[in-house]
C-alpha cells in the first residue's frame, strides 16, 4: 500500500489516480493511507530557514509538492470570474532522482476558469526526467506541456513577481500577468504548517498580494480581466493523519487589504483540525490558534451525487471576524481524475471581500 501514500495540500491525487487508484471509492482510504511516515523521503521538521529563489523550485526529496495560483478577477463588463492554475509534483518512491524515463517523478496540472454561469477545467499529466513538465528555480519557470508560470525579466526573488501565467483547455484559455510589491509570506509557524495534533506538517509559504491583469478566452471569445491573485507553495512527505478524510480550505482577500488563510481538516470521528494565518496589509503573518476558529456550513449544493457545503459562516472572535461566504458558482466542480470542488467565493459580514474555496473528500 506504500504507493498510495501521496498527498497534496489539496488534491493529491493526480498521482493517486495515475497510480491506478480509482479515486471515488478509494478517496478515504487514499487519504487514510497517506503519510503517516516519511518512509525514506525527507521529513518536514520545524525551524527550516527558507531561501529564495531555491525554495521556489522543486524539492524532489519530498514526496509531494505544488505550485498553486488562484485569482479573483473582474472582466471589462464588471462581471466576476476566477482562475485556477496548479502544478503538482509527486515522487513514486524515495531516493536520488533517476534520469530520463526512469525518473520517479510524476507531474499533474489543473487549470480552471469560473464565471457565475460556467466552470471550465482541464487536466494534464506528465512524467519527470524528460522535460515535459518541471520547475526551475532560476530563472523561475514552472510548466507542464504548454501551460506555464514563468518569471518575467526582472523577477524579484522576494516577491516572485512579475510572473506570466498561461493555460488552455479544449474550450478555454487564459494568460495573466501577476505583479506584487510585498514579499512572500510564511504560513503556519514560520513556514512550518501543522496539519494535525501529531507530527503531520508541511512547508508552506504564499504570495497573497498579487495583482493580476490579462485575458481569458472562452469559446473563442476573449475578455480583458483584472483583479487579485494568491500563490501557495507547499511541500511535504507526510502532511495528513490517517484519520483525516478531507478538507475545506479558504484563501480570503479582505477589503481592509488584510489576507486570511484558513483550513479545516475533517477527521473520521467528526471532529476537525482547523488552522489559519492572519496576514496584515504589510505582510506580517500571525498563526491563528485552532480553538479560535469556527467554520460552519450554512448551505449545501448537490453535485454529481455529492452534497457540498458551498456557503459557510466563519467566526474568529479574537480577530472580531464573523462572515458569511457564498460561492460565485456553486457548481465549481473539478471533475478531474481525482475530483474536488474549487471556485471563487465572496463574503460579507464584519468584513467584506472575496477569495477562493477548495473542498476535497466529499
Amino acid at each position: 500500500m506504500n504507493d498510495r501514500r501521496l498527498i497534496s495540500r489539496r488534491v493529491f491525487t493526480g498521482g493517486a489516480a495515475l497510480l491506478g487508484l480509482r479515486p471515488r471509492h478509494s478517496l478515504a482510504q487514499g487519504f487514510a493511507g497517506l503519510g503517516e511516515k516519511a518512509d525514506g523521503f525527507a521529513a518536514v521538521v520545524p525551524g527550516k530557514i527558507f531561501s529564495f529563489p531555491e525554495d521556489l523550485g522543486s524539492h524532489p526529496d519530498y514526496r509531494i509538492e505544488w505550485w498553486y495560483i488562484t485569482a479573483n478577477l473582474v472582466d471589462s463588463s464588471g462581471a466576476a470570474c476566477g482562475v485556477q492554475w496548479t502544478l503538482f509534483r509527486q515522487a513514486s518512491k524515495p531516493g536520488p532522482e533517476q534520469q530520463g524515463w526512469a525518473s520517479q517523478q510524476i507531474w499533474m496540472g489543473h487549470a480552471a476558469v469560473t464565471r457565475m454561469d460556467l466552470h471550465r477545467f482541464s487536466e494534464k499529466f506528465a512524467r519527470g526526467g524528460i522535460g515535459q513538465a518541471g520547475v526551475n528555480a532560476k530563472p523561475f519557470e514552472a510548466w507542464i506541456d504548454s501551460w506555464e508560470m514563468r518569471g518575467l525579466n526582472g523577477l524579484n526573488d522576494r516577491t516572485v513577481a512579475p510572473l506570466e501565467l498561461t493555460a488552455s483547455g479544449a474550450d478555454f484559455s487564459y494568460a495573466l500577468r501577476l505583479g506584487a510589491d510585498r514579499p512572500l509570506v510564511l504560513q503556519g509557524d514560520g513556514g512550518y504548517s501543522k496539519k494535525s495534533e501529531r507530527e503531520q506538517a508541511s512547508y508552506y509559504f504564499s504570495q497573497p498580494f498579487f495583482t493580476a491583469t490579462g485575458r481569458i478566452t472562452i469559446d473563442g471569445k476573449p475578455v480583458e480581466v483584472s483583479g487579485q491573485a494568491w500563490l501557495d507553495r507547499e511541500w511535504s512527505s507526510q502532511p495528513l493523519a490517517s484519520d483525516q478524510t478531507g478538507w475545506d480550505w479558504f484563501s480570503l482577500h479582505l477589503n481592509t487589504n488584510e489576507k486570511l488563510m484558513l483550513f479545516r481538516l475533517r477527521q473520521n470521528d467528526g471532529t476537525d483540525y482547523a488552522s489559519g494565518n492572519w496576514i496584515s496589509p504589510a505582510g506580517t503573518s500571525e498563526p491563528i490558534a485552532p480553538a479560535q476558529i469556527k467554520m460552519t456550513p450554512t448551505a449545501f449544493t448537490a453535485t454529481e451525487a455529492r452534497r457540498l457545503p458551498t456557503a459557510w459562516r466563519i467566526e474568529i472572535p479574537t480577530r472580531g471576524l464573523a462572515i458569511e461566504t457564498t460561492a460565485l458558482n456553486a457548481r465549481s466542480w473539478m471533475g478531474t481524475s481525482f475530483p474536488y470542488w474549487e471556485g471563487p467565493i465572496r463574503f460579507a459580514g464584519s468584513h467584506n471581500g472575496m477569495g477562493y474555496l477548495e473542498m476535497t473528500g466529499y
Binding site: 489516480a17 495515475l18 497510480l19 491506478g20 524515463w101 520517479q104 506528465a126 512524467r127 515535459q132
Partner: protein, 820 residues
C-alpha cells in the same frame, strides 16, 4: 393454442412417414449454415486479430507524426511538441529476437497515451505504476506466452543479452507483440533518446503549427479507418466469403427441392385441413412455425458443424495469412455471440427463401380444387423457356461486368453471374440433349428411357444445377491452383539464384564474413544485397538492390523488358518494377517513376517488369551500387553466395561455427525454396478444402433429390413392371439414366469450369493480388474430376435403385389399386 398444436402434429406426421425427406431438408439446411458460418467464423477471427494488431498503440487508426523519411527522430521533438500544445504520445518500435523468434516490440508512454487509443484504457489507467516503475512489465497476448512457453511473471532474455521486464498477460494485444514502457524499449532496441513515431490524441487545444516546432523533420499521417492488414488481406477474405456463399447456395438448392416436394405431397393434407375448418391464416402461420422450428434446429447443428470446420481450417488460414501478409492470427477460435445469432438468422432466412414459392402456393390454396400432387412437373415447358431467358440475361450481365468492371468485386460478380447463368441454362441444355437422344432412339424401351429422363428433369434439375456449379468451381479452382504452383516453382527457381543466403547482424559483421569468404576457394561469387523502404502515392514500396552479376542477368525472371535491360540498369537511372506495382500504377516499359529518397526524389525509367508473387507490397529493383548511393544508410548485411556444388553443407557448417550464424540468418537455396513452397501451398489449402466441401454437398444434393424422387416415381415405373420388365432391369435403367444425365452435366461443367479458371486467373487474381498467371489446361485433372463426379452420381443413384430392385411387387401393384 391446442388447435395450433394439433395442426402442427398433423403437418409433422408427414415427416414421420417420409423420414428421408426430413433428413434431406435438414442436411441441406445444416450444410448451408455450416459452411457459411464456418467461413464467417474464420473471417471474424482474422478481422478481430487485425483489430487487435491495429489497436496496438497506434496502428493506422490513430493519426500520428512520423519522421520525414520514416526514420526515428530525437525525443526532444516530443517535449517540444507537448510544450507547443500538441497532444502527442511517443512510441518506440522495433523487432526483438527472443529464443529464435522475432517479436514486434512496442515502447509506449502510458501517462500521455490518448485514452481513445485501442487498448490504452487497460494500461493507461489500470495499473500504470506497475508498468512504469522498475521492474516494470512486458505486456503480451496469452498466445505469445504459450508460444514462448513462459508463465506470467517470467523475465525474458533477448538474443542480444538484454533482459525484459516480467511478463504480464494483456488479452487485447495481438500475438507476437510485446509492449513495454518507452524507457525500457529504448534500452532494449538501443535507441537512447529516440522515438519512432508520435501518436496524436484528439485533445483540442490551441497549438502551434507543426512546422514552427519541428521544421520539416516530421510529417502528419492522418488516421485511417481501415488497418493496413485489413486492406492487404481483403482479397483473401473475399475469396473465403465467395466460397462460403457458393456453398450456402448449393445447400439452399437442396432445401428448396426437399421443401418443394414436401409441400406438393402435402397438398391433399392441407386441403383436408382447410376443409375441416382451419383458416388459411392459421394454416399458413403453422406452416411457417414448422419451417422456422426446423430451420432453428438445423441452424444449431449447422453452427456446431461450422465451428468444427472453422476450427479445422484455422491453422491453414493462420499460416497463409502469416506467410502472405505477416498477419498474426491466434490458433484458438474465439467467437462472438453475434456469430451465433447471425448463423441462426441465416439458417432461418435461407429456409424461408428456399420455401418462399411453396409457402405462397399454400397460402393461395383454393379450398375446393382437387389437389394435384405432381402438378409441379407438368408446367416444365413453360418454366424452361422462362428460365432460359433469365439465364441469357444473367450471362449478358456477366459479359457486361467483365467488360466494364475494374475491381475485385466486379471480378467476383462476373464469376457469380457466369455460374448462375450457366446453372439456369442447364435444364434447357439437358432437355435439348435428351430430346435429341429421344429422336435417335429406335427401341421402345430406349425411347421411354429418354422420355422419362426428360420428364424427371424438373425434379432433378436443382440437384443437377448444384452438381454443375460444384464441378465448375472445382475445375476452375483446381486449374488455378495447379497453374499457380507450376508458375511459382519455375519463378522461384529463377529468383533464388544464389546457393546460400546470409543476413549478418550488422554491417561490421557482414564485412568480416565477406573478408573470410573471399579466401574460401569454393565460393565462386559473393553477391551483396540490400533493401530500402519508401512510399509511392502513400503506399509502401520496397526497393531491392541487385548486384551487377551474371547470376542475376542469367536467372532473374523478367516478364517484359526493354532491350539490354540489364546493361541499362547499371548507371542507376533505370529500374525494374514488380508486376503488382506496374498494375497498380499503370506502368509500362519506358515510363518513369519518382521515388522519395533521402537526398530528394529518385526518378527511374522502367526497363523491365518482373513477377513478384506473394509480396503484398510493390517492389522496385535497381542496381545495388546505385541503391547504396541513394540510400546510404541501408544495412548492407545481406549476402548471396554462389558456391561450387557439393561444397554447400561444409561451407555452411564452417560459417555456423565461425560466425555463430543460425537458421534465421544463414539458409541455403533448397531450404528457402521448400519454405516458400510450403507457405504457398498452405495459401491454397483452405481453398481446396472448401472446394471439396462444396463438391461433397453437391453430391448430397444429387442423392437427396434422387431419393425424394424415387418415391414419387412409382406411378411411372409400375406400368413398365406390369408389362414385364423386371425390377432388376428397371433399377439398372434408373441408374443408367441418372448416370447419363450426370455425365451430360459434367461434360457441360468442364468448359464452364475452364471459363471460371480463366476468370480467376485473368480477373480475380489480377485484382486481388496484382499478378496474372499463364492459363494452362490440365486434361488429367479434368478427367479425374469427371471420374469423381460420375462416382458421386453412381453412389447417389445406387441407393434408390437398390430400393427399387428390392421393392415388394405388392407395392407396385398398389399403384393401380390406389388410384388417385
Amino acid at each position: 393454442m391446442s388447435r395450433i398444436i394439433w395442426i402442427l402434429a398433423v403437418l409433422l406426421s408427414h415427416w414421420r412417414r417420409h423420414p428421408m425427406q426430413l433428413a434431406t431438408l435438414l442436411i441441406g439446411l445444416i450444410s448451408a449454415t455450416a459452411l457459411w458460418s464456418g467461413v464467417q467464423a474464420l473471417n471474424q477471427q482474422a478481422r478481430s486479430s487485425y483489430d487487435r494488431a491495429a489497436a496496438a498503440f497506434g496502428g493506422a487508426r490513430t493519426p500520428m507524426l512520423a519522421g520525414k523519411d520514416g526514420a526515428a527522430f530525437p525525443q526532444r521533438l516530443f517535449t517540444d511538441l507537448r510544450r507547443a500544445g500538441w497532444p502527442v504520445s511517443p512510441v518506440v518500435e522495433g523487432r526483438l529476437q527472443i529464443g529464435g523468434r522475432s517479436f514486434r516490440l512496442l515502447g509506449i508512454e502510458p501517462v500521455t497515451l490518448p485514452a481513445e487509443i485501442g487498448n490504452a484504457p487497460a494500461i493507461g489507467k489500470g495499473n500504470s505504476q506497475a508498468f512504469i516503475a522498475p521492474p516494470g512489465q512486458t505486456l503480451a497476448a496469452p498466445e505469445t506466452l504459450s508460444e514462448l512457453h513462459e508463465p506470467e511473471g517470467a523475465s525474458l532474455l533477448a538474443s542480444n543479452g538484454a533482459s525484459l521486464p516480467p511478463l504480464h498477460v494483456q488479452p487485447q494485444l495481438a500475438p507476437g507483440v510485446l509492449v513495454v514502457d518507452i524507457g525500457v524499449a529504448q534500452r532494449l532496441l538501443n535507441m537512447p533518446d529516440r522515438i519512432s513515431r508520435l501518436l496524436v490524441g484528439p485533445a483540442k487545444e490551441p497549438r502551434l503549427p507543426l512546422e514552427t516546432v519541428a521544421g520539416d523533420r516530421l510529417r502528419l499521417v492522418a488516421a485511417d479507418a481501415e488497418s493496413d492488414l485489413e486492406r492487404l488481406t481483403d482479397s483473401f477474405h473475399l475469396n473465403l466469403t465467395a466460397f462460403g456463399l457458393l456453398s450456402f447456395f448449393v445447400g439452399l438448392f437442396i432445401v428448396n427441392s426437399a421443401i418443394g416436394l414436401a409441400f406438393e405431397q402435402r397438398l391433399p393434407m392441407l386441403r383436408t385441413l382447410r376443409a375441416c375448418g382451419v383458416s388459411a391464416c392459421l394454416l399458413n402461420a403453422v406452416l411457417l412455425l414448422e419451417l422456422v422450428t426446423l430451420a432453428l434446429a438445423a441452424g444449431i447443428i449447422g453452427l456446431v458443424c461450422g465451428y468444427l470446420i472453422a476450427g479445422s481450417l484455422l491453422p491453414d488460414v493462420a499460416a497463409s495469412l502469416r506467410g502472405l501478409y505477416g498477419a498474426e492470427i491466434p490458433g484458438q477460435l474465439t467467437l462472438k455471440p453475434q456469430w451465433w445469432i447471425a448463423g441462426l438468422a441465416i439458417s432461418i432466412l435461407g429456409a424461408l427463401a428456399a420455401a418462399a414459392a411453396s409457402l405462397t402456393k399454400a397460402a393461395r390454396l383454393p379450398i375446393l380444387v382437387a389437389a394435384q400432387p405432381q402438378a409441379w412437373q407438368q408446367q416444365q415447358r413453360r418454366w424452361l423457356v422462362i428460365q432460359c431467358g433469365v439465364a441469357l440475361v444473367v450471362l449478358i450481365a456477366a459479359g457486361g461486368c467483365l467488360w466494364f468492371g475494374d475491381s475485385l468485386l466486379s471480378g467476383f460478380a462476373v464469376l457469380a453471374a457466369l455460374l448462375l447463368g450457366a446453372a439456369l441454362a442447364l435444364p434447357a441444355l439437358l432437355e435439348l440433349a435428351l430430346s435429341l437422344g429421344q429422336r435417335s432412339a429406335r427401341d421402345a424401351l430406349v425411347a421411354w428411357c429418354w422420355a422419362d429422363s426428360r420428364q424427371q428433369l424438373s425434379g432433378l434439375s436443382l440437384a443437377l444445377m448444384a452438381l454443375l456449379l460444384a464441378l465448375a468451381v472445382n475445375v476452375g479452382v483446381g486449374t488455378m491452383v495447379e497453374t499457380f504452383s507450376r508458375t511459382f516453382i519455375t519463378w522461384l527457381d529463377g529468383r533464388l539464384a544464389a546457393d546460400v543466403y546470409i543476413n549478418a547482424s550488422d554491417d561490421a559483421r557482414a564485412n568480416e564474413i565477406r573478408a573470410w569468404l573471399g579466401q574460401r576457394p569454393e565460393v565462386q561469387a559473393i553477391l551483396p544485397g540490400g533493401r530500402a523502404e519508401t512510399e509511392i502515392n502513400g503506399a509502401p514500396v520496397e526497393i531491392l538492390g541487385l548486384p551487377d552479376h551474371a547470376t542475376y542477368r542469367d536467372h532473374w525472371p523478367l516478364l517484359r523488358s526493354a532491350n539490354n535491360a540489364w546493361v541499362r540498369l547499371r548507371p542507376g537511372d533505370t529500374g525494374f518494377v514488380s508486376e503488382q506495382l506496374a498494375r497498380r500504377l499503370n506502368l509500362a516499359i519506358g515510363d518513369h517513376i519518382d521515388m522519395p529518397a533521402p537526398g530528394g526524389n529518385w526518378t527511374l525509367e522502367i526497363v523491365g517488369i518482373y513477377a513478384d508473387y506473394g509480396n503484398p507490397k510493390g517492389q522496385v529493383a535497381v542496381n545495388f551500387a546505385a541503391l547504396t548511393r541513394r540510400f546510404p544508410n541501408i544495412p548492407r548485411t545481406r549476402l548471396g553466395l554462389r558456391v561450387a556444388p557439393g561444397e554447400i553443407p561444409a561451407l555452411m557448417s564452417a560459417l555456423q561455427g565461425k560466425f555463430g550464424l543460425d537458421g534465421r540468418n544463414l539458409i541455403d537455396q533448397a531450404t528457402l525454396k521448400a519454405d516458400s513452397t510450403r507457405i504457398f501451398n498452405r495459401t491454397f489449402a483452405v481453398t481446396t478444402a472448401l472446394n471439396s466441401f462444396t463438391l461433397g454437398i453437391a453430391g448430397v444434393a444429387l442423392l437427396t433429390s434422387l431419393l425424394t424422387l424415387s418415391n414419387s416415381r412409382l406411378p411411372q415405373l409400375a406400368p413398365l413392371w406390369a408389362i414385364g420388365i423386371t425390377r432388376r432391369q428397371l433399377a439398372s435403367i434408373e441408374v443408367l439414366k441418372t448416370m447419363s444425365v450426370a455425365l451430360i452435366t459434367t461434360l457441360l461443367a468442364l468448359p464452364l469450369g475452364l471459363l471460371v479458371a480463366w476468370c480467376l486467373i485473368a480477373v480475380v487474381n489480377v485484382k486481388a493480388f496484382g499478378w496474372r498467371l499463364p492459363f494452362d489446361v490440365f486434361p488429367l485433372q479434368l478427367l479425374e474430376l469427371v471420374g469423381v463426379a460420375m462416382l458421386a452420381a453412381l453412389l447417389a443413384a445406387l441407393i434408390p435403385a437398390l430400393k427399387l430392385s428390392r421393392m415388394q411387387p405388392a407395392n407396385l401393384v398398389k399403384v393401380f389399386a390406389n388410384e388417385r
